[in-house]
Amino acid sequence: MNTTIIGFAYLLSGVLFILALKGLSSPVSARKGNTYGMLGMAIAVATTLYGAGSGLELSSYTNIIIAVAVGGIFGSILARKISMTALPQLVAAFHSLVGLAAVFVAIGAYKNPAAFFDGGIITTGSMIEMSLGLAIGAITFSGSVIAFAKLQGLVSGNPLVFKGQHLINLVIFLSILALIYMTALSPMDAATEQYFWAIVGLSFFIGFLVVLPIGGADMPVVVSMLNSYSGWAACGIGFTLQNTALIITGALVGSSGAILSYIMCKGMNRSIVSVLLGGFGGDSDAAAAAASQPKGNVKQGSADDASFIMGNAQKVIIVPGYGMAVSQAQHALREMCDILKSKGVEVRYAIHPVAGRMPGHMNVLLAEANVPYDEVFELEEINHEFATADVAFVIGANDVTNPLAKTDPQSPIYGMPILDVEKAATTLFLKRSMASGYAGVDNDLFFRDKTMMLLGDAKKTTEEIVQALNLS
């Protein structure tokens, strides 16, 4: 009876988690979905404590309450204080915690089998499941730490590549599998404990090695991929604990991260393998220094020119990129768009899948600046509209607008889906300098007749345009 109730409760919490993700199909239902998620979590925690119930010492509850309170307060403060620009770092940090928690749970289960396994015996099957959860968790942790450090700028975003790297990774990977096999042969034998700890160590190590060679430009893929890993780690532990809530959730998160990785890869026309092998795309500044000799004539404009052109336009499409977030120009941008709208100009926003540093980052930044979400469109939805637009206003984006991706098979960004800003009657580029983007490729749009460059800080330029619009 008891186990039946517990089983149903875990199933219920799994279903609530599915509903939490289902809610995200629209901003209207998303908040309700989030509430379902919290409810599911509360049920899972309550059920576990109830199930572990009988004959408890009060002090173990005290410890748990302290741990939850400390973690909860810390997490809440982080969630409240974090700036939306720094969101990718926060997510990477959170992934690392899931990974580390999986490692600790696996160690806890290994050292106290009586609490986790029937008859206190770890079977070969359980050991394999647990070791996989452990290994993936450890990789998630150390990989996320590196991703965090790269996103936060603590280590260089440039890919760190050295000779024989892939061979070393392969050897370590195979060693981990061999160790799992050796541990699983006789899990209860104290002699295999050293293998268990070796799995922990090597998995941490390979996590570092795998993410280090991946360049800053590929971070959206890495963040999604680690999201996926954290799910699979949870799944491994779920099998160990025979807990349906964990298995369902782990599978949901695992496939979610995999889909996001796929979408990000497609947005850059890169294969997941080439991302993992690394070596592509460092910090934009570094790439910029190496490349870019100006060729051809550049038409530079002023804020007054831009305000005149847009003030007389019927339709303006805004193309924001990470550069907008860096200069915090989104609020000035929204102000500019409000004035344009009050003048009867139709304003829309076009978002490239890899704009920003993680999936959907740009949408959040615009939403933060009070841009209504029904003015914001994805690439496929809006790309045909550039042909009918008077102005494409590109702010802090570069590679995602480069027509070379369509025409030059030699270009490193060839095949990447791009926003067709060149089809608009006028293209305005707000950029810090004439430097190329992260891919190190010149954008020949800069030299076209229909293009006007507004060089300088995106926020300052936008504010000047706002002033000019107010005067006219």
């Binding site: 915690l97 963040v223 949901l252 939403a367």
Partner: protein
């Protein structure tokens, strides 16, 4: 539960995840990352089992359990709250 039942649940959940996540609007991919982060911290149940099992005695297993509970709590509270914060920003045209 036997392995086959658990594995069946796993495989079906992967499919459910696949369809549900393709249904998520791309505009909400950042909140999706935050929410998946929070729910994958249901791994807290493993930490709770280890922490409770020692019946108040602090040994390696229960310490590991407590740390796992602490880390997962950061994630649960942080993940849901940052998702909530993001979602509150998404407003329709007035």
């Amino acid at each position: 539960m036997d392995f086959l039942s658990l594995f069946s649940i796993f495989v079906l959940s992967v499919f459910v995840g696949f369809y549900v996540v393709w249904g998520v609007t791309p505009a909400l991919h950042s909140p999706l990352l935050a929410v998946t982060n929070a729910i994958s911290s249901v791994i807290i149940v493993g930490g709770l089992i280890a922490a409770v099992a020692s019946k108040g005695i602090i040994d390696l297993s229960s310490t590991m359990g407590l740390i796992a509970v602490l880390l997962a709590s950061v994630n649960i509270f942080g993940g849901f709250m940052v998702a909530q914060r993001m979602l509150a920003m998404f407003k329709k045209k007035k």
